[in-house]
């Protein structure tokens, strides 16, 4: 492992420890939330953020695969989808825990909750489709087609529905006037956590793609 990489990974480890300390001790208690439960937002929001990032990486990889037919792009698409699924599940769990503490039930059919549920269904469908195709190139094409189709329908759920329907989710942090309403300390920790989670995603993504490329290399050598 190169020196830079070792340094970066060490930094990531320390950064996360800092963020966790910050989440529990540096950030103040949030007003209007039950007890300390609001602290979960420092983990829930970044998880949801990473899930979206993974979805976007998948979109780009899918489009590139359709353009260049390079199997490495399909590898990237599958890897980001797997990570997207992982972080969506984590976001759903942390969200449900918060919902249970705050409103007494794990699930409330809030539009944002529904959109994460549908995202999970999309991932499940994506992997079901991949499993149903044997030929690697066709698998890449069909999976890419489905991913792109799913990607264009998502904005409606995420942005349109909550505007039309009342939502349980606390007002989006950047409200109508464009001002940031969160306490500044909380905001710092939140941004720090988002950075940390993005770094973690990048590391996991590189691990996944390297593993898949190894397999690809081995398969191609075996022919």
């Amino acid at each position: 492992m190169t020196k830079t990489k070792k340094l970066l990974l060490a930094a990531l480890c320390v950064w996360f420890c800092l963020v966790i300390w910050g989440a529990f001790f540096y950030a103040p208690r949030a007003a209007g939330f039950k007890g300390e439960s609001a602290r979960i937002v420092f983990f829930h929001v970044p998880q949801a953020w990473v899930a979206v990032v993974a979805f976007c990486v998948n979109l780009v990889a899918s489009l590139q695969y359709l353009r260049r037919r390079d199997l490495k792009d399909d590898v990237r698409a599958a890897a980001s989808a797997r990570l997207g699924l992982l972080f969506s599940v984590l976001a759903t769990i942390s969200g449900s825990l918060f919902a249970k503490v705050m409103w007494g039930s794990f699930w409330n059919w809030d539009p944002r909750e529904v959109s994460i549920a549908i995202l999970l269904l999309i991932y499940a469908a994506y992997f079901a489709l991949r499993q149903a195709v044997a030929d690697p190139e066709r698998r890449g094409t069909l999976a890419a087609a489905y991913a792109i189709l799913a990607f264009v329908t998502m904005p409606f759920l995420v942005f349109v529905v909550p505007r039309i329907y009342w939502s349980l989710h606390p007002d989006t942090i950047i409200n109508v006037q464009g001002k940031i309403q969160m306490d500044s300390r909380m905001f710092q920790v939140l941004m720090g956590s988002v950075l940390g989670f993005t770094g973690l995603f990048w590391w996991l993504y590189s691990l996944e793609t390297r593993l898949a490329r190894l397999r690809l290399h081995r398969d191609q050598r075996g022919e």
Binding site: I118, L142, Y146, A150
Partner: protein, 224 residues
Amino acid sequence: MLRESLTVLRKELISELRSRVAISSVGLFALTTLVAVAYQIGPYRIHEQDRPHLHAALLWIILFFAASSGLPRVFVKEEDAHTAKTLRLAARPGAVFAGKLLFNLLLLLGLEAFLVPLFGVVMSFAVANLGALLLVLLAGGLGLAATSTTVAAIIARASGSSTLFVVLAVPLVLPMLVFLIQGTRMAATASDWAAALPALRAVLSLTGVTLVTSAFLFPVVWHD
């Protein structure tokens, strides 16, 4: 291009009218589900104020699942009958998609024409604004047909199974169904046209986006 699409459509209609496979499975599915639902949930067993919610939701559930029993086959049957290769050579992908889309649309509209009046009578579904309901049904038919045709094309090149179709189609169709149910409820409860408008706009934009994306994706999937 239009003529090619209409030719594809005509071929579909002729083969369908000959075998009536899709029509009968779709119709029977819808009828069976309706009877089962109506028997249990009959018109007078639900409170007045809950009825629009429940009726709207049930209507679209029956429509979607009945459609799923017939629409996916539209590409799979080509693969099965080994006519797919000929079709690829004979017609442009755009025309094939348009023809199949129109066929699915007609099938869906036919289903709606059959089921909705029946549903209305059997469940005592009172509608305040009939015109708005018709618009919602039309938009829904187009939207469901668009998504279903594209997903059908994808699964035909995979395993072709209807289970796979439902698994792939449901997440894409869910947002649309949410809006359609909302729109139907508005049409049933409010005589004012403006009530159903937001839902209609959402459905139509979703449909538009799906169609544009499919126009780009279909040739790729078809010629794989």
